[in-house]
């Protein structure tokens, strides 16, 4: 399917990424440089990096496929499912983390609750990221193979080699600055497909008219708010309670790979601005990943598998050259996801596990080396374990689902931890453990409890609510923390009116 020019574009892109990433090696002299970019990065680079690391190669296909099946309501995930949470993160949480000089979210949980909560949260993230790496490699490589005929092991080895080298040497600065280029590649490739597809279907109004005449199953295709009794996974109740109130906040506030980027900002204004700028860019994502799926309803009607929508649109719409650019955009999605996983996991392991439990008080160069070696080890584990995914076809969905069940209880303890002084270490610990257990229980017995196709939004909400109830109940029964213990860790109006002082 690829022409000569397409191969040239893809190879030039891969080599360019490698050279750009390696350029940032010279800025890494300490562990702070490696994990927090020396706290020197501008808001625009961080904002682009937040957005691009959130879209993988699989999301292009998956979201287009869901848009083909369910319509525009899929866009809720990048609109209401991101913007309010990013504003909350920008104005409340990020300033606390940034001023506190933190490296990881579990580090905040450790200071606010206790070391056990920190360790549980950190180990959960590390396990998830490490498992996700191999699965992501394989699933993305299979996708690139199906789409473009690119051999699976060439995808894996070239991605691992390039991303591994620049992440090993350049740390998070290389991750963020390569993400900036990947952002432009994705947007140019994605918008080219959208504009050419729009031309093919005769414009927006023509597409809406054509879909409206295709039958009752397309009646709600242009309703962003779906009724409560819809059979799709996106009823408005799930979008409001599960996505807007819980999952979006947990993702934007509690996800290490997102928050760590903001902590690299050169000052507090840049840290806040990075999230708000990112939220503005986020609003364009549905146009890139959702619109091709909608237009495929007109161009390729009646597909049994919605995930075929995007590949078919690329094949039928894009000319040589732009196919290569789109392929580079898929690669960019894969690379930005992999480099985020590597750097975040290395940070979590070095700061939350190695430093407190394995070797306390070593010099800074030692922790820098540990971070680099962890990056390398993770990469090798990811590549070696990637073929296992071929024996377990549902493993990608299973891992993502597992992570979504961690979000509700995690957000419950983060929210109460920062807003309620009375929350205690035992309240936080029990809420986390029981909340995760409850989410797993609801998942196992989901057919008994839920009527919609995939109730992950509802499960997030109910496990969050139980986490709040458990946290409040246990906290009221246990000894409260002293004001000295809570200094700089609990929200105070002082942060809004006094500079620097929490």
């Amino acid at each position: 399917m690829l022409a000569g020019i397409d191969y040239f574009i893809v190879i030039a892109y891969i080599i360019g990424m490698l050279l750009l990433g390696l350029y940032f090696k010279k800025f890494v002299n300490s562990s702070e440089d490696y994990f927090l970019g020396g706290k020197s990065l501008p808001f625009w680079a961080i904002g682009m990096s937040i957005v691009v690391s959130d879209i993988g190669a699989l999301d292009f296909v998956g979201v287009s496929g869901q848009a083909y099946r369910y319509g525009i309501s899929v866009g809720n995930f990048d609109w209401v499912g991101s913007v309010p949470a990013m504003l909350l993160a920008a104005f409340i949480f990020i300033p606390y983390f940034w001023r506190g000089g933190m490296y990881t979210i579990p580090e905040y949980l450790g200071r606010r609750y206790n070391q056990k909560v920190r360790t549980i949260a950190s180990v959960t993230w590390i396990l998830f990221f490490a498992l996700d790496l191999g699965v992501l490699f394989w699933a993305s490589a299979v996708l690139l193979n199906v789409l473009m005929g690119w051999p699976i092991w060439i995808s894996i080895i070239s991605t691992a080699g390039v991303v591994g080298l620049y992440t090993y040497f350049g740390g998070i600065t290389a991750v963020i600055m390569t993400d900036v280029v990947q952002f432009f590649i994705m947007f140019i490739g994605g918008f080219a497909l959208v504009f050419l597809s729009l031309y093919e279907v005769g414009g927006w109004d023509s597409m809406v008219d054509k879909i409206a005449t295709m039958g009752p199953e397309y009646r709600n295709h242009f309703d962003i708010i779906q009724p409560q009794d819809t059979k799709s996974p996106f009823p408005w109740t799930g979008i409001l309670f599960g996505l807007t109130f819980v999952m979006a906040n947990a993702y934007m506030i509690g996800n290490q790979s997102i928050v760590q980027r903001c902590l690299t900002a050169k000052n507090e204004w840049h840290a806040k601005a990075s999230m708000i700028f990112g939220s503005a860019l986020k609003m364009f994502i549905p146009i890139l990943v959702l619109f091709p799926g909608l237009m495929a309803v007109v161009v390729h009607p009646g597909l049994a598998d919605g995930d075929q929508a995007l590949p078919l649109m690329i094949k039928s719409i894009l000319p040589p050259g732009l196919v290569g650019l789109m392929f580079a955009a898929f690669f960019a999605g894969l690379m930005s996801s992999v480099d985020s996983l590597l750097n975040s996991t290395a940070t979590l392991f070095t700061k939350d596990i190695y430093e407190p439990f394995i070797k306390k008080g070593a010099d800074d160069k030692h922790y820098l080396k540990v971070g680099q070696i962890t990056t390398l080890v993770l990469l090798v584990i990811g590549v070696v374990t990637s073929p296992i995914s071929s024996d377990f076809p549902g493993i990608y969905v299973a891992i993502q689902t597992f992570m979504s069940y961690f979000q509700g209880p995690l957000f419950a303890i983060l929210l109460l931890g920062i807003f309620w002084k009375r929350t205690t270490e035992w309240g936080g610990l029990s809420a986390l453990v029981i909340g995760i257990g409850f989410a797993i229980f609801l998942n196992v017995f989901k057919e008994e409890f839920f009527t919609i196709e995939d109730p992950f939004l509802y499960i997030s909400w109910w496990s969050f609510l139980l986490g709040v109830i458990i946290n409040v109940s246990v906290s009221l029964l246990t000894k409260k923390h002293t004001d000295e213990q809570l200094e700089g860790l609990v929200f105070s109006s002082k942060i809004l009116v006094k500079n620097k002082k929490l």
Partner: protein, 71 residues
């Protein structure tokens, strides 16, 4: 209860108004932030209106609300 059946009588139009109201509430909360706080990190003499993060946030919310109003 787990499926929010108790909200089944709420129409799609009302649900849309709930989302739009949410954006309105967030906008009001953003407006209530002290101006000093949103500029924190920029030296006083270098502060310009385009550095005001309240304006950034309100612009983003306005675009978001218009998307939900339209669809």
């Amino acid at each position: 209860m787990f499926n929010f059946d108790w909200l089944s009588s709420v129409s799609q139009e009302t649900a849309k108004m709930i989302f739009l109201s949410l954006y309105g509430v967030i906008g009001i909360l953003v407006l209530l932030l002290p101006t000093e706080y949103v500029y924190e990190g920029i030296a006083k003499e270098d502060r310009r209106w385009w550095n005001n993060l309240k304006l950034w946030s309100l612009s983003v919310l306005a675009i978001l609300a218009s998307i939900y109003y339209h669809f």
